[in-house]
Amino acid sequence: MSLILIIEQVLNGLQLGVMLFLMAAGLTLIFGVMGLINLTHGSLYMIGAFAAAAVASLTGSFLLALIAAMAAAAMAGVLVETLVIRRLYDRDHLDQVLATFALILIFSEGTRWVFGSFPLFLDIPDQLSGPVTLPGGIQYPLYRLVLIVVGLAIALGLGALITKTRLGIQIRAGENDREIIAALGVDISRLYTFVFALGAGLAGLAGALVGAIQSVQVGMGEPVLILAFVVIVIGGIGSIKGALIGAILVGLTDTLGGIFLPELFDLFTDRATATSAGSALASMSIYILMGAVLIWRPSGLFGLRA
């Protein structure tokens, strides 16, 4: 256990965290503004990854692939919002969960039908592959470092969008009181579609960015979706700041727990027990974190009191 390993793992945790943030930001905005539980978000992530893989293999350009990912996911988002989800805003959460669960089935099987069951691969572009040497002599993959920077930049941009622009004011007003801002002359249904498309685009981007370090396959979205839900519940639903802090907390807990809990158990018991008990606890650690946060603050860290 060296300092270098710890720093590497912290960076890995950050990388997971910022990618989760891209997912969680959209989810939390959609929930905050429209009051909608959107299980389809994982499918949008998957659509982004598949669009990126398809465009990258056609054109060979990673940048085009990323643009295609965002565009495809945002378009799918707009389609879903206008056709289905618009009808669900004033329904209870049960109907929303069920309808978006149905959409997951349609999207997953549809993707399997178009692309087949075998995973696709999306390559890291040459300029971004290979390791870099960080101060202190730590070798770290350049691509993962770029992911951290891109994710943080998007977080800053999103923060500026929400706090500084006219659109951001409308979004925040929509979170507080949708009837009033509709009465003040804001086209609420266009605002909803825009927020949904924005969230979908971010999910698609996350799918494409992560798709380059994992394989692109059907069902890749749901584990991330559940992690993103954990993130927004920890951070407090509706809060972008909460989503960022929650995402980094979850990313770090997940990554560091997997490495250090078995080591920690090793101090007390024999190797085999330590490894199995440690990894069992590590895989549960983020849910334990979430449970603890909710018991301490039932509306999350930055949530409004329900």
Partner: protein, 327 residues
């Protein structure tokens, strides 16, 4: 509109008639399919107690289903390997006897529901949905890394467990056992819905403030409902494990929770036979559409979407009209 009692009687008659017909025409697969439907129905009736009566949208009922399954898996595994479950402080042997397994399944899942409910009921709305989902994931990942009982591969049981006086290896006898369990639980459910507790719970779902004002504790009633609900779903889990003679972490997966919820909503929330109808239709769709196309989930998704958007009372609601009392 048809009266609900007529529809219920028809469904029950169908559940008896089809397997009996299959038995005399030597179609064991149909009986297995019916058994699967009945067990799913039982799990969904369990969820309906929390969801329909208590208004608790639990997206983590796979926890109880899985605990029931693992209760069976662990006890039978120790019985077939002739090892004790624990040796200290007292020796507990495994067992292949269904009544004991059911008792363990029901008690452990009720206990789990008590703990989960105690923690989760501090929250409400979306947070409740999410925290129950998180508990489900917690158990899922725990069993995946629990190598003592097969980890990700699960546990296989070679011979179906026994029930005194019956040969459970005969499909129709095992089916009869499952159907009896379902009918008893449905009776209990009907009695409970009309009992003082059921009425108070119903009121607590609709206007908790008023219930509190007359001196009842809505949170405590919801906790009791969740415990009963968890115990029923746990029993279904034990039966499901016995049907397949196999348990694995998939019983804890969130898709399982989603499916149990789909049964309830497909059939009709808060209707006595809603979950039964939903599970029956789901298993039939799975069988027939699955035979037609590998991508049958697309059709299932589309059907589900249509039900949510245009037929809000589920199938029972379509047939019998929507209930007057509905929030």
């Amino acid at each position: 509109m048809i009266r609900e009692g007529v529809v219920n009687a028809f469904i029950l008659a169908l559940l008896v008639a089809v397997p009996v017909w299959a038995h005399f025409n030597d179609e064991p697969f149909t009986i297995t399919l019916a058994t699967r439907a009945v067990i799913f129905a039982l799990a969904a009736v369990g969820l309906n107690i929390a969801l329909g009566l208590g208004g608790l949208v639990s997206l983590g009922h796979a926890v109880f289903f899985g605990i029931g399954g693992y209760a069976m898996g662990i006890l039978a595994h120790h019985a077939q390997t002739f090892t004790p479950v624990i040796e200290w402080p007292l020796v507990i042997e495994g067992t292949k006897s269904m009544p004991i397994i059911w008792l363990v399944a029901v008690t452990t899942s009720a206990l789990a529901a008590l703990v989960i409910g105690f923690l989760s009921l501090r929250t409400a709305g979306v947070y409740f949905i999410m925290i129950t989902l998180a508990f489900g994931q917690m158990f899922y990942y725990f069993t995946i890394s629990w190598t003592a009982y097969g980890g990700e591969d699960g546990l296989s049981i070679y011979v179906r467990n026994s029930f005194p006086g019956l040969n459970t290896l005969v499909p129709i006898q095992f089916f009869g056992l499952c159907l009896t369990a379902l009918v008893i639980v449905l009776l209990m459910n009907a009695l409970m819905a009309r009992s003082a507790f059921g009425l108070a719970l119903n009121a607590a779902r609709q206007v908790p403030q008023r219930v509190e004002a007359v001196g009842l504790d809505p949170k405590r009633m919801k906790l009791v409902a969740l415990v009963i609900s968890g115990a029923v779903t746990g029993l279904a889990g034990a039966l499901f494990a016995d049907l397949n003679r196999f348990v694995s972490p998939t019983m804890f997966s969130w898709q399982m929770s989603g499916e149990i919820m789909v049964f309830v909503i497909l059939g009709g929330v808060a209707r006595l036979f809603g979950p039964v109808t939903g599970a029956l239709v789901f298993v039939m769709l799975e069988h027939f559409l699955g035979g037609l196309s590998d991508y049958w989930h697309i059709y299932l998704g589309a059907l589900l979407l249509l039900i949510v958007l245009f037929a809000r009372g589920g199938i029972i609601g379509l047939l019998c009209g929507r209930q007057a009392v509905h929030d």
